[in-house]
Symmetry: C2
Subunit: 604 residues, 2 copies
């Protein structure tokens, strides 16, 4: 097992310097926090992760969560994650004091959870979904529901889940059929089946509070007829006793990775005795759920980037210790009398390591930026600013979720390759990271769905206001970069990529205008790949500007090597990754409609 899974200096530098946490902390809401107190919080999270998460990472893969006799057995560290993590405020962090929270910025919460995910991605989902479920209750449910259910969720005694997917309704939520029948007693009777429910049941939670989408009898078809309910596994009677609520654990799903994080199949109302409590108004369930979706998507991107971080450091450690082969001399031969080189000295291995570093850190900074936008959206004093940052978050969110998930697979694939045959062996950890990350491009809307959202909604958001705002933000970083000789070239390069983006949009949007939506969106996934590289190029340029400034101003927070290494990785990204946009652009601009031909047997 490797010894390092995340670079805490990089986390703090991106949070404090690149994303300028201090500017967020000026908000009244965060007046009790400052850079030092946040620093201590992050350090304590790192210690917690070192002690309670990382040492159990392999064990949780080898002893998966499993179904037995009607319930799910999970690893004992789930209890530590929930209860000790709860006590540290890891579940409650983003909430108001009034609701039992710590009023920490999402940027800080994201940095903290990045550490947890990198240490052991099988655990933070339990607390993260509990935060998410509590957030829906706090934001949209009655005071009574909030007071009854959230305190024990925030303390980690109870779990929380999101129950969306049904066997016939995965990406297509409009087809949900779980039924809610009104009664005259303040609750609905729920009946239906939900699948793929993460953290849906386990032996360490006295209760689990499900936030469930269902259709009230007679509701309109499709997404406009879906309501949101609190459906606890154990409901509270009037005297505060817990009664079974007719929620059945039907089975769990065995998976190729993330095996310690249980994925369950739940049945509701088999005995016609499952009570659900409406959250907010009828038929607004999907609306409420989607207001939480940006946070959930930041979390998935964060998990993916963090898994790739763990893999990067494991492969780096191996590369620094493993001798194999020799450097080539000027006649192209190897001197056998020399002892073997460490593999980190071979350029191809260095390429595989830099590729990982570029993806891990480039995506980490982009994720932190999304969290910053979230904080500014909710806490800027100015209404226009709130709108601006909300719009910017909407624009980048599909990439924030997708790039770390997709590039993370590629990144870990390279990390595994660094180990050669050992990378394929269970005794080494790379193969686990490789399996674990694979779920991220499926969670919370697949890459296909994110790509439709990116091109089909976001690129034309508010008649192009969103795209314009995003371009302005990127251009502003380019202008900063142009002030430094060393960065000017990369700034000009990114500027060209923005022009190419516009060219692509001018090519594609007319298809939508003409009503040919199928053609408009056919290559949305290719556009996602293209724009992801542009946005991560932007992320790296931003890191470059901050690093250059740190060097010039004699920032003593880190060694000069630290900043130089960031500039080298920026160069790597611009030399090896960003050029791939050229081919992708050609793919998008090509005249072929081969994927939308259905008139003949193209595929067989």
């Amino acid at each position: 097992m490797a010894s390092k899974y995340v670079d805490i200096s990089t986390i703090k530098y991106f949070m404090n310097n690149v994303q300028e946490l201090d500017k967020i902390l000026t908000s009244e809401r965060f007046e009790d926090h400052n850079i030092e107190s946040v620093d201590m919080f992050i350090d304590s999270v790192k210690q917690f992760a070192d002690r309670e998460l990382f040492p159990y990472f392999k064990e949780m893969d080898e002893s998966p969560a499993h179904y037995k006799d009607g319930s799910i057995n999970v690893h004992q560290q789930v209890e530590r994650m929930m209860k000790d993590g709860g006590a540290m405020g890891l579940i409650a962090a983003p909430f108001d004091y009034d609701d039992g929270g710590l009023q920490l910025p999402l940027l800080v919460h994201t940095a903290a959870n990045y550490i947890l995910d990198a240490a052991n991605n099988h655990l933070p989902g339990y607390s993260g979904l509990t935060t998410g479920a509590a957030e829906l209750i706090i934001e949209f449910a009655s005071k009574e529901l909030k007071e009854k259910y959230t305190p024990k969720m925030l303390s980690g005694e109870w779990g929380g889940t999101m129950c969306l997917t049904e066997p016939q309704a995965g990406s297509s939520l409009s087809d949900i059929i779980t039924k809610a029948t009104p009664t005259n007693e303040g609750y609905y009777k729920i009946s239906g089946q939900k699948i793929f429910i993460s953290g849906g049941d386990h032996q360490y939670a006295e209760n689990i509070v499900h936030l469930l989408l269902a259709r009230i009898e007679g509701a309109p078809a499709g997404t406009k007829g879906i309501s949101l309910f609190v459906v606890p596994k154990m409901r509270l009677d009037e005297t505060g006793n817990l009664l079974p609520n007719d929620v059945t654990t039907v089975a769990d799903f065995e998976k190729m990775g993330q095996k310690g994080y249980c994925t369950t199949h739940l049945g509701f109302g088999d005995e016609d005795n499952c009570h659900g409590y409406l959250v907010g108004d009828e038929n607004k369930g999907l609306h409420y759920m989607f207001l939480m979706m940006n946070g959930a998507r930041i979390a998935v991107g964060r998990t993916a980037s963090a898994i790739a971080s763990g893999a990067y450091y494991a492969s780096l450690e191996y590369a620094k210790e493993r001798p194999q082969g020799r450097k080539l001399s000027s006649d192209g031969k190897k001197d056998l009398n020399e002892k073997q080189s460490l593999i980190i000295e071979h350029p191809d291995v260095r390429r595989m390591l830099m590729l990982q570093k570029a993806m891990v850190e480039g995506s980490m900074n982009l994720i932190f930026k999304a969290a910053k936008y979230f904080d500014l959206q909710h806490n800027s004093p100015d209404e226009q600013d709130r709108h601006k940052y909300h719009t910017l978050l909407e624009m980048i969110i599909p990439v924030v979720k997708t790039y770390p998930s997709e590039a993370g697979i590629y990144s870990i694939n390279n990390g595994l390759q660094v180990l050669g045959g050992y990378g394929f062996c269970s005794d080494f950890i790379l193969q686990q990271y490789y399996r674990d990350i694979r779920i991220c491009s499926i969670y919370e809307g697949t890459t296909g769905i994110q790509s439709q959202d990116l091109l089909g909604r976001k690129m034309i958001l508010n008649n192009g206001e969103g795209a314009r705002l995003l371009m302005e933000e990127i251009s502003s970083t380019i202008n900063e970069a142009k002030e430094y000789n060393e960065l000017r070239e990369w700034g000009l390069c990114l500027d060209n990529k923005l022009k190419e983006t516009q060219k692509i949009l001018f090519h594609l949007i007319p298809f939508a205008t003409k009503g040919d939506y199928e053609r408009f969106l056919a290559d949305a996934s290719v556009f996602m790949e293209f724009l992801s590289l542009v946005l991560v190029g932007w992320s790296w340029l931003e890191i470059g500007v901050a690093s250059k400034r740190s060097i010039i101003t004699g920032d003593k927070s880190h060694e000069t090597d630290f900043f130089e290494s960031k500039l080298d990785t920026l160069e790597y990204f611009y030399a090896y990754e960003l050029p791939k946009t050229i081919g992708l652009s050609e793919v998008i601009l090509h005249p072929s409609s081969i994927t939308i031909k259905t008139d003949k047997k193209t595929i067989s």
Copy 2:
């Protein structure tokens, strides 16, 4: 479990029509075979695979080969693969009648093994390595060794392995230290440890014949001091009895995939009683081994492409059966009153399916071409032709091994994505293909090693003769394509890619001339990715030319849909995959040397 894993029509069309098996069969060596007899052989292999391999594919993953009490236990189908497969001639197929073989072309043997690999990649390695080990004995060892050891190998009663890797010597074979001490009794005493030995031990083989690389005491350092030995697990005494030969099964390696194909750690001579028999001359071991390497690399590429074939058909079957979502109408909305579409109707799903088909079939045809070159290298009556086809095989072999392995990962990744959340679940087979294929880019020389070979040796082979011959072959296909209106565009496109290839070589080779080998080879893996797309583009153009001819000549061997589907997939490859060369070319031509900087802490 899906029901289809390979398209037998495509296998036969590529073998018979695109690679023109009939021309190979004109050789005297193959005079007993004809298209009809080969057809029957392929059909019988398919039936064998349907009956004995495919039904056990998942089971072999779930009950892995494992070490117990000094030996390895494997699934019972290993016995069927070896003994029934042996009886069918699957081990002996390529050998001469005199050596107990069937004198079948490698092209036919490759097509047959493609079917087996696609059905269940955990099994054909056992027979394949036995063929390889027997081949070394038959080609280079004494008549006595051949007569003693090969008959029971070809019948499948005994297994065979290749023992190359040692704990300190993986990619770097010059560092092998396993020792061979001469005696006066016609054998050497062997002592050492070998790891990652596929098929190294199991309960169904009465004996296993290891072909082992070792260093005779006093031999020169490096690759020039390595000799090849036959080291059986049980040696034959003079009366033909089997005696234990001091070969110990130390352990097996648990892996993330291909779990039914055992990977062992073997010890030789722990009790100073391990006899090894020299094959050919002293110190020529690596030379002999590398004469077999092209065959071994064709086999790895074949396995990878075949695994991706299995995955493709599994995801295609799912896409044809799974309803989800609806088609977009001209206002970009979905009509909820319509029933759900099958997911194969969504362009993004079609893209993921065509991507798989393009990679699977494009690589299959390239692999078959390599096997054809092998046959022509060994059986052309004309010496110059033999040299030509040997050179062509040398040129394409790194891509034949690497493209299916690397693109296969990408292909199956897309297959898994077609299934959404189910793709990640163990109940569905995609996750197994995803895990299984990952070893292929490591086997028989990693992608890094293949890339160094491609750029560092092959591109400058015989002072450029190799590159010239390859370009001529590709140009000849381009000229054929230009005869058809529908193909002309793709021909011109591939022609441009050839010019781009030359531009890249003119840029890179001067680094070698100047003695800067490190810079010359630093981006070899990127060049591999570039040239792979060009060669698979060529493969598709060749398929296109054959299909177009079949349509025009009214070829009744298949429905017109079959040929049209090939032309559509050609279009897909040229519209979606080949353009990626543009970005890769820019990466290679960039002036950055970031991966060869070692003077500062770039990577941390």
